[in-house]
């Protein structure tokens, strides 16, 4: 399962405009909704926020992976947001998050969902990959970086 196959120029933003956690998630959800695979915005948002309640998906080293499964997703859906300045996402290391991989999966797509999340974990363990994404100047460049890394 490739991230580059789930993303497109229209589901990537290289300069997130929002500055707080809930707004960032909503901005990423809006992007993901452009795929037409999310049938109900409120249900989707609730699923992601409920997951954040368990523990923040702000990881270490500037990476966040807000995700959930929801009946509001007809297919596995993804968006990617980048903030060069960084945003407080209640991360595990207390540092600002710069890369936001948003995943919404249907209830019955555990296999592909798990594979996509594992692929994100593998790719973002490479600091050079993360730095390249942070420095990207267009969604097209982001896609090329991900394709090359995959």
């Amino acid at each position: 399962m490739r991230l580059s196959g789930l993303l497109s120029e229209e589901t990537i933003i290289i300069s997130l405009s929002d500055k707080d956690k809930q707004s960032v998630i909503e901005e990423l959800l809006e992007l993901a909704m452009k795929t037409g695979k999310i049938t109900n915005r409120e249900t989707a948002l609730k699923a992601v926020m409920d997951r954040e309640q368990l523990m923040s998906t702000g990881l270490e080293k500037g990476v966040a992976v807000p995700h959930a499964k929801s009946s509001a997703a007809s297919e596995l859906t993804m968006s990617l947001g980048i903030s060069k300045e960084g945003i407080d996402f209640e991360s595990a290391d207390g540092k600002p998050s710069h890369l936001f991989f948003f995943i919404l999966a249907p209830e019955a797509a555990a296999g592909p969902n798990v594979q996509v999340l594992a692929q994100i974990a593998r790719l973002t363990s490479d600091p050079e990959f993360c730095q390249a994404l942070k420095s990207a100047s267009s969604p097209m460049e982001v896609l090329e970086i991900i394709r090359d890394a995959e």
Binding site: R51, L54, M55, T57, L59, E60, V65, H67, A92, A108, A110, G111, N113, V114, Q115, L117, A118, I120, A121, R122, S125, E150
Partner: protein, 165 residues
Amino acid sequence: MMEGPVKKILLFVDGSEGCIAAAQYAITLSRTMGAELWALYVVNVSLLKELVKAKIFVRIEEMDYEQDLEQDGKRYLNYISELARIKGVEIKTELIKGVVNREVVERIGQWGIDLLVMGELEPVRSRTDTYHDEAELIFRKAKCSVLVVKDVDQVERIYNALESN
């Protein structure tokens, strides 16, 4: 009648589109060769643990997804059992948990499998693909002959042409 070269076939079920075509082909082979047929699905718990370690999953999520994957596996094995039943082929199914490639390779030895049947492999684009793709690892590590089923449409025709029970 001379004994066939293949006595025990193992079908690797991973929930991919290709594994259904592989099932149809394995059922056809089992019937025409008189070979015993096994189907195996492995819940990839190592991947779930990888996600907990990466802090993407919390423990409750890990358990939730493990259940989901188990349900997926049962659904696939039931569907494949039905495909076999329609053609009058007896199939033994097994669902286990673990490191996928390791479990499959171990079962090949334990059950005395002489042919592994699996769906088409994903195209390889990098070395990390080869390292992380379970099907690729099974293909390389299996100690018996491996049949990778391609051309889904042709396989479906072959399966459909097989007289029903």
